[in-house]
């Protein structure tokens, strides 16, 4: 089972690379085929813990399909995060419902001191991410646009990704691959979804960040600290540092 899950994670990464190499249409068709494969395996398999992981993995190719088909050039870039993030959040909620897991398990409050410490990791990581990638500012230096940017990056970027990779995936995969290895699996999956950054340095960096945050979530049992850290990382890298 561990090997099959590793195979699917590598397949997601391979299709991302195929999309980069041979074009988006080929990439999207590859992701669609993977969704079909994962769903058919889910339906055929009777071992509930393993099949749950397959269903969660469906969300990754789905994320990529949505990210290429919903945004349009006329909409400001900052809105793209909501355009992709909202339907993805709906899909995540449907997955929780189908698997009969409570979302509140991952987002429960508690261990505030540790959560603040985890959130603080976002500050140095943000600076590091900016120095690796040096992106253009996501929005102009207009207060209400900056506020919208911060809100969208937090809800549709940080929260959505943390629920998916650290909350849902780690939760369902831990009984199958083991509580230590699940952090490695989730960070590889997380890094694979960043292959579209077209920078190997940035992919490696996000893989390392995934390992750190995965470990934090495993130790504290909640994702709030990493949601805040992820939000600080994204806002710092895409809005604060580029505008300074």
């Amino acid at each position: 089972m561990k090997i099959i899950i590793a195979f699917y994670i590598l397949a997601i990464a391979a299709i991302e690379l195929i999309g980069i190499q041979w074009g988006n249409v080929v990439g999207l068709v590859g992701h669609a085929l993977l969704i079909e494969l994962l769903l058919s395996q889910y339906a055929r398999n009777s071992q509930s813990e393993y099949r749950s992981v397959l269903l969660v993995l469906v969300l990754c190719p789905l994320l990529r399909i949505l990210s290429f088909t919903i945004p349009f050039p006329e909409a400001p870039k900052v809105y793209w995060y909501a355009m992709v993030g909202l339907p993805l959040l709906i899909a995540i909620r449907l997955t929780y419902y189908t698997l009969q897991i409570s979302l509140w398990q991952a987002v429960r409050l508690g261990a505030w001191k540790y959560q603040i410490l985890v959130a603080a990791t976002g500050i140095p990581l943000s600076l590091l991410a900016y120095s690796i990638w040096e992106p253009n500012p996501l929005t102009q230096n207009i207060p209400h646009r900056i506020l919208i940017g911060v809100a969208f990056l937090t809800v549709f970027g940080a929260f959505t990704e943390e629920v998916l990779f650290r909350g849902l995936f780690q939760d369902v995969a831990a009984p199958v691959v083991g509580s230590k290895m699940v952090v490695v699996y989730s960070s590889v999956l997380f890094a694979a979804m960043y292959l579209g950054s077209l920078s190997w340095g940035y992919v490696a960096f996000m893989g390392a960040v995934g390992l750190l945050w995965g470990w934090c979530v495993q130790r504290t049992g909640t994702i709030w600290g990493t949601v805040l850290a992820h939000s600080i990382l994204s806002v710092g890298m895409l809005i604060v540092f580029p505008l300074m």
Binding site: L28, L39, S40, A43, T69, K77, F190, L198
Partner: protein, 82 residues
């Protein structure tokens, strides 16, 4: 940049017109959605507990893709009207 909107997403969307995007990636999405909906309806006709399970799982990609489909259609209609 996040995994939801990557550099490749930005490059693709900004370097093509919406016409070109909806005629390539949009058509692929509609094709995928059509296959998934057909599959779901076939499973509904077949019945049985395994089919019900599969149908529930199919809702996960179908529902957000319907949202994407609605955006594509809406933008095409706006384009036609204007």
């Amino acid at each position: 940049m996040t995994s939801t909107v990557t550099e490749r997403t930005i490059t693709t969307i900004t370097s093509h017109s919406y016409d070109a995007l909806s005629a390539t990636l949009g058509v692929v999405l509609i094709g995928i959605l059509l296959i998934l909906v057909l599959q779901r309806e076939t499973l509904r006709a077949m019945g049985g507990s395994r089919s019900r399970d599969w149908m529930k799982a199919l809702n996960i990609p179908i529902v957000p893709m319907l949202g994407a489909f609605a955006v594509i259609i809406l933008l095409r209609v706006i384009e036609l009207v204007s």
